[in-house]
């Protein structure tokens, strides 16, 4: 994708874009936390709200990746993608929060599903 200012286009643009539009907006919150951590009560309602928005955002990213998946994942049928997530959540709910097992269950459903539906 081309940069907003044509003169910036070139082999270094991807690096600059990475720093400006991915690293900076991510890192800023870690820096702010260091600078303002002293004054913030970790149990304050404001941080509860921030945490809730953060959780919803992460969940939103998951949903976006499943509904409009990147790359070859788009070749897996939507139902298979949703079933993979459901399998992981089911293992987390039933299996006393075994993260590795949950990840493997989701992966097994996805890979098996793509295989069986012949989407590949």
């Amino acid at each position: 994708m081309t940069p907003p200012i044509a003169a910036l286009d070139g082999p270094l643009w991807p690096y600059l874009a990475l720093l400006l539009f991915a690293a900076l907006p991510t890192e800023i919150w870690r820096w702010l936390a260091v600078l303002f951590a002293r004054g913030l009560d970790p149990d304050s309602p404001l941080l509860d709200w921030v945490r809730a928005v953060a959780t919803a955002l992460l969940a939103g990213i998951v949903a976006k990746l499943i509904v409009a998946p990147p790359g070859v994942l788009a070749q897996a049928p939507l139902l298979v993608r949703i079933a993979a997530l459901a399998a992981s959540v089911a293992v987390m709910a039933l299996g006393r929060r075994q993260m590795m097992l949950a990840v493997l269950a989701g992966e097994a459903v996805l890979i098996g599903g793509v295989w069986l539906t012949g989407a590949g």
């Binding site: 990475l18 509860d48 809730a52 976006k64 499943i66 993608r81 793509v114």
Partner: protein
């Protein structure tokens, strides 16, 4: 692994590295394999992919960045979406710093420590650091987090070249590791009804917003609406 108070910092850092290699580093490393292939798909060099793992160190930010470029979103929208998706680092960092902070520590060291805050180092750090002597926690944390980062950088590099060569079911499986890993990490961190509401509402609202709001701002709207509702649900259940 337990750490003895008389150990040298090298030995403590090694203990951190070993704990990371016992599982967490592999989970996050495999989770970031997909990033390499996303960078490959938008035509960016492999060094940008690996660098993104080191300087961004946040799976969702990296996925948003590369996937938004692929979708042709505006740069401003990408930066804002990444910024909002990273808001969680503020409370996360605020929560873990007291475990690592010592009198006389420089702000620069704290900024460095804060850089490693991401799902894995954070959840594992909160769990493991309290059992480690205060003066050894920084060495342990750096050993742990740098090991996770190194394994992930290799994973990103391998993913850049490997994914195109794999049979489609496996390539799709590797790409799907990222959303599965995020969802599993989120589920592992659920503490009360408000958290569950935030998770479920976020999952449901994001695709709806994507349909009606363009330009990459859909995720922000979904997160704010779902998070605020979940916050109110969580507060409503707490004794005043």
């Amino acid at each position: 692994m337990t750490v003895s108070p008389d150990w040298s910092w090298q030995r403590v850092a090694l203990a951190g590295a070993r704990d990371a290699l016992s599982l967490p580093a592999w989970i996050v490393g495999f989770g970031l394999v997909g990033i390499g292939s996303l960078a490959h798909d938008v035509g960016y060099p492999v060094s940008v992919a690996v660098l993104s793992t080191i300087v961004v160190w946040a799976g969702p930010s990296q996925v948003l960045f590369f996937a938004s470029i692929a979708a042709g979103a505006a740069w401003s929208a990408i930066a804002i979406a990444v910024g909002f998706a990273s808001l969680r680092f503020l409370p996360m960092t605020v929560a873990i710093l007291p475990l690592l902070r010592r009198p006389g520590q420089s702000v620069w060291l704290q900024l460095l420590l804060a850089h490693y805050v991401a799902v894995t180092a954070w959840t594992e750090g909160l769990r493991r650091l309290p059992a480690i002597p205060v003066h050894q926690r920084v060495a342990y944390f750096l050993g742990f987090a740098n090991t996770c980062m190194t394994v992930s950088a290799v994973g990103t590099f391998v993913g850049y070249y490997l994914l195109g060569e794999l049979p489609i079911p496996f390539a799709a499986g590797l790409l799907c590791l990222t959303p599965i890993f995020f969802l599993v990490s989120l589920s592992a961190g659920l503490r009360h009804r408000g958290d569950v509401a935030a998770l479920v509402l976020g999952l449901v609202l994001a695709p709806i917003c994507q349909r009606f709001i363009g330009g990459g701002f859909d995720l922000i709207v979904a997160g704010l609406v779902a998070g605020t509702i979940a916050f109110l649900i969580g507060r409503g259940r707490r004794p005043a």
